[in-house]
């Protein structure tokens, strides 16, 4: 009877390989997927340009994309350092907020009492506009101190990270926990081998949201005043002077920073969780 049983794994291996061979090449696949978005982007730019020219819309209402592009290049030496200054605030706040959020989640998941006490507030605060605290933070830390903006960003990031992480730590498959129980595993072992890995996808979906939120939070809190080197300050000043092409140029930088930050988190996610559903199509 051992012969057919030996054949089975070999057959299964063969099936897996066949499936792999059937997949189309990855590059062509990707290009095909992004083509509609690229076409839409180009069409939108052309439409914008022609509409502004055709209806003779004033530059201070809506500058033409070509003008924005020219100004963008001319102002690069100002916008890019401003962007980096703001990015540093966003990053600092992101790191502080995520770390504290994850730690709070660990405490919350571990002690039921902390959970009962904290979660209602966490959920409540999560739906309040935290940027509104910006003037207060400016007052506490000093208007030009990057810490004022970092603390706003940290508070913005803290709650989604914490709430998601708590979910990931507690919503664990009952069978996975019973298995550990049958091994008489310690609570630390369960945390390390079951709860934490289970929470990783939740954590990363929170970090992806937090990455864009942190750039938005930093820029918007700069509207309430800040260092002259900051991107948010630059945008509000140029807009006040009716230099809208410059403001648009700075917005492009903000946009690139937000997307770039998001993509970096996405990349880290793929490296950290090669097993996850969201990564499967790429690994297969």
């Amino acid at each position: 009877m051992s012969q057919p049983a030996d054949l089975v794994p070999a057959l299964e291996q063969e099936l897996l390989e066949l499936e792999e061979a059937r997949r189309p090449s990855r590059f062509a696949d990707r290009l095909g997927r992004y083509a509609p978005a690229i076409v839409l982007f180009v069409v939108a730019l052309i439409a914008w340009e022609t509409v502004v020219a055709a209806f003779n819309i004033q530059g201070f209402l809506l500058p033409r994309p070509s003008v924005i592009a020219q100004t963008f290049v001319a102002e690069l030496s100002v916008i890019v350092p401003a962007g980096l200054f703001t990015l540093r605030e966003a990053l600092g706040g992101f790191v502080i907020g995520s770390l504290l959020g994850a730690l709070a989640a660990l405490a919350t998941a571990r002690w039921a009492l902390v959970h009962e006490g904290m979660m209602p507030f966490a959920i409540a605060v999560n739906s309040t506009p935290i940027v509104a605290l910006a003037p207060i933070m400016n007052n506490w830390f000093g208007i030009t101190n990057p810490l004022a903006k970092m603390s706003i960003v940290a508070v913005i990031v803290f709650f989604p990270v914490m709430i998601n992480m708590v979910r990931g730590l507690t919503q664990v498959d009952a069978g996975a926990l019973e298995l550990m129980r049958s091994y008489a595993a310690s609570e630390i072992s369960v945390l390390r081998r079951v709860r934490f890995p289970n929470a990783l996808p939740y954590l990363f979906s929170a970090l992806k949201v937090a990455s864009t939120l942190s750039v938005i939070g930093a820029i918007v809190s700069e509207y309430f005043g800040g260092s002259r080197e900051a991107l948010g300050v630059y945008i509000s000043q140029q807009a006040a002077l009716f230099h809208f092409a410059e403001a648009w140029g700075a917005i492009i930088v903000a946009c690139i920073m937000g997307i770039g930050f998001y993509l970096i988190i996405l990349l880290v996610e793929r490296v950290v969780m090669p097993w996850h559903v969201s990564v499967r199509s790429a690994v297969e």
């Binding site: 009877m1 794994p9 069978g175 298995l179 049958s182 008489a184």
Partner: protein
């Protein structure tokens, strides 16, 4: 069979869920059962007969309301702490974030085996279930039957005294199921582990077991025990043997007798 010192001794075990609530459910009523070393015992019965509950009581995942379970002369609780149980559930319950090899290695990590021993045992176990070349695959890349083989390898990795299996092949198709039954018998004969196997399939229980414990529902009681003295090793031909059919009929009779009694 070693009658003097049973591996599992269940005496007067009852289990009532929601004991203090309004909707009390009596799942088990006065169960007495001894299982000897190296025996393959099936708990068979309709759904709701408490067979899974009994398995969970043996494995100290659910406390009994009354009675005692002794495992190798210890309480079930102590036996769990001593890591005497290997568990296999209906779902393979493999951890998504671990490769097949790392899943098998999981109990060895938890139990702090030396690193070299961990790797050696993992390799041996994967060889035992014939999945060596899938060590680096992730669970989702495997079929249902392969996943369940990994779960069996994981359950046996730390050489537990007893293998507790709760409808492990219940989610598999008929063909895979029969192949897995063969696999399990081969593994059982190689490891000499005591197996308690929960199922609601009569042919499955008869094909695998030394002894079939037939249970009846509401409250869960033992309706009868049938020794299955079919020759071993059992193979494909066993299922076509008239003695196999005779045993299947015998078990079915016990189940039917119980049912008519309950109705009348």
């Amino acid at each position: 069979m070693n009658e003097a010192q049973p591996v599992v001794a269940i005496r007067g075990v009852s289990k009532t869920y929601n004991e203090r609530g309004d909707n009390r459910v009596k799942a088990l009523d006065d169960i007495n059962l001894s299982i000897s070393s190296g025996e393959f015992v099936s708990l068979l019965g309709p759904s709701g007969c408490g067979k899974s509950t009994l398995l969970r009581v043996i494995g100290d995942l659910t406390p009994p309301s009354a009675g005692s379970v002794q495992v190798n002369g210890k309480s079930a609780h102590q036996a769990r702490l001593d890591r005497d149980y290997g568990m296999v559930f209906q779902q393979a319950t493999l951890y998504d974030w671990r490769s097949v090899g790392k899943n098998v290695q999981l109990p060895l990590e938890v139990m702090a085996y030396p690193k070299a021993k961990q790797e050696l045992r993992t390799r041996d176990m994967l060889r035992l279930v014939q999945l060596e070349e899938f060590s680096r695959h992730y669970p989702w890349q495997l079929s249902g039957g392969m996943q369940q083989r990994v779960a069996i390898a994981r359950a046996l990795a730390f050489e537990p005294a007893i293998l507790l299996m709760d409808e492990p092949f219940g989610a598999l198709d008929e063909m895979t199921r029969e192949r897995m039954q063969m696999e399990l018998l081969r593994i059982w004969s190689q490891t000499q582990t005591t197996v308690v196997f929960v199922t609601h399939s009569i042919p499955e229980a008869v094909f695998l077991s030394n002894r079939v414990v037939v249970m009846s529902a509401r409250p869960g009681r033992i309706a009868g025990m049938i020794n299955i003295d079919l020759p071993r090793p059992r193979a494909f031909e066993t299922r076509e043997d008239p003695r196999f059919f005779a045993k299947v009929t015998e078990v079915r009779e016990v189940l039917r007798r119980e049912e008519t009694q309950v109705r009348s």
